[in-house]
């Protein structure tokens, strides 16, 4: 799960060395992946009208549903 997001994001940005994925839990105990990226890369991860992040969330949700967990992605 984390590897998937990490792979996609690192291959998308200009500064892959600054990318970090933090795993966390929200109040309901669901998995939350937090993407940390360089300031100028944040836009690339989100995409025009959030297209990229929407696609990442869709893929993640699909995998998460298979493993019976809920996952979300936030960006900083």
């Amino acid at each position: 799960m984390k590897e998937l997001v990490e792979y996609i994001v690192k291959n998308l940005v200009d500064h892959p060395e600054q990318v970090e994925i933090v795993e966390a839990k929200d109040e309901q105990g669901n998995l939350v992946l937090q993407i940390l990226a360089a300031r100028e890369d944040v836009g690339k991860v989100i995409g025009k009208n959030g297209r990229v992040i929407k696609a990442i969330r869709t893929l993640l949700k699909n995998q998460a549903a298979r493993n019976n967990i809920l996952a979300n992605v936030t960006i900083e």
């Binding site: 291959n11 696609a55 869709t58 019976n68 809920l70």
Partner: protein
């Protein structure tokens, strides 16, 4: 070995040099570009004689073919790397068709892999094209699972043809349900050769729709606009959402896209192929009447009345499962 583009060869005669060079490249004469750089000189008694020098170059298509082979490998490598991290039960095969790459993915659960209306495949395809673009590969790649896309394309083409026939007959534009860009493209392409209809798209992205219009009429006056019936006093049926007559007999084309299986209503019957004779009369069982309570007010749901406010039920607890989310969907009926 296969990547050598051109070689220079020298031999006693031009012919010998060419043959040697072609052999080294492993191509036939028709696919090569031959330049003679130096003509042989026989000289006198072996003095001052020179060998012929030729340069044999692969023809342009040959070079492109090599580059394509490399490109397809790169596409496949990127796709495999992504899929390995996404879901290791998927099997991939890559194929080139025209300008775009077709990636076929075999999944043990195709329905889950494709997602609702291809949501998940489209997301994966989008991410893949981004990753490829980052590698300098600006190519169109199509992700498919089983025959999902080809089946959908067939359905869309069928629908386009059927609607175009009707537009050309009734001579009024028809607006199709919102479709994603790829599917609109299929409609435009399916109808581009027809002279009796024109197509264009209107609206903003998630709801952009194709409009099929009648083409220029030859000798036919354009159909007058719909009559304003607001002033006439024809008796009209009372409005009731349940009893509303379906538009255009069935209205399967008017449905929102999330019920798109209804597009595939099969090929149309030719006009002559209809059952003759009187229509069988429908026998409907009498409706069961619920005995009305004495004080119960008679309520007729009005379409204009504000819908009853419902309180969202508590969020489901425990592990997530799609079935649970269905169970917690609040009912719209009071």
């Amino acid at each position: 070995m296969a990547e050598i583009i051109s070689v220079d060869k020298s031999a006693k005669t031009v012919e010998e040099a060419i043959i040697a060079a072609l052999e080294e490249l492993g191509i036939s004469r028709e696919r090569a570009l031959i330049e003679v750089l130096e003509e042989p000189k026989s000289g006198l008694f072996g003095i001052g004689s020179k060998h012929a020098l030729v340069r044999v170059t692969r023809q342009v298509e040959e070079i492109e073919q090599i580059e394509e082979i490399k490109e397809i490998d790169q596409v496949e490598a990127v796709a495999r790397a992504l899929l390995a991290r996404y879901d290791d039960t998927l099997r991939l095969s890559v194929e080139k068709k025209g300008e775009s790459y077709l990636l076929d993915i075999v999944s043990p659960e195709p329905a889950r892999f494709i997602g609702k209306h291809g949501e998940t495949v489209n997301a994966l395809q989008f991410i893949l094209s981004l990753l490829l673009a980052k590698q300098g590969l600006h190519v169109r790649c199509l992700l498919d699972s089983g025959d999902y896309r080809s089946h959908r394309e067939r359905t869309l083409k069928q629908m386009a043809r059927r609607l175009a026939d009707r537009v050309s007959r009734i001579r009024r534009p028809y607006t199709m349900p919102p479709l994603p860009p790829m599917e609109r493209r299929v409609i435009h392409l399916a109808l581009q050769d027809r002279t009796d209809v024109k197509t264009h798209s209107e609206g903003d992205e998630p709801y952009r729709k194709v409009i099929i219009e009648p083409g220029p009429s030859e000798g036919l006056a354009p159909r007058p606009p719909r009559q304003d019936r607001s002033s006439d006093d024809r008796p009209r049926r009372a409005y009731s959402p349940q009893q509303r007559a379906p538009r255009y007999g069935g209205g399967s084309e008017r449905r929102p896209p999330d019920r798109d299986r209804s597009y595939d209503s099969g090929p149309r019957r030719p006009p002559g192929d209809r059952p003759t004779g009187p229509r069988p009369t429908e026998v409907r069982p009498p409706r069961e009447e619920r005995p009305r309570e004495e004080d119960e007010p008679i309520s007729i749901p009005s379409p204009m009345a504000p819908s009853k406010k419902w309180i969202a039920p508590a969020a489901p607890q425990g592990p997530y499962s799609p079935k649970a989310s269905l169970r917690y969907r609040p009912s719209r009926k009071p």
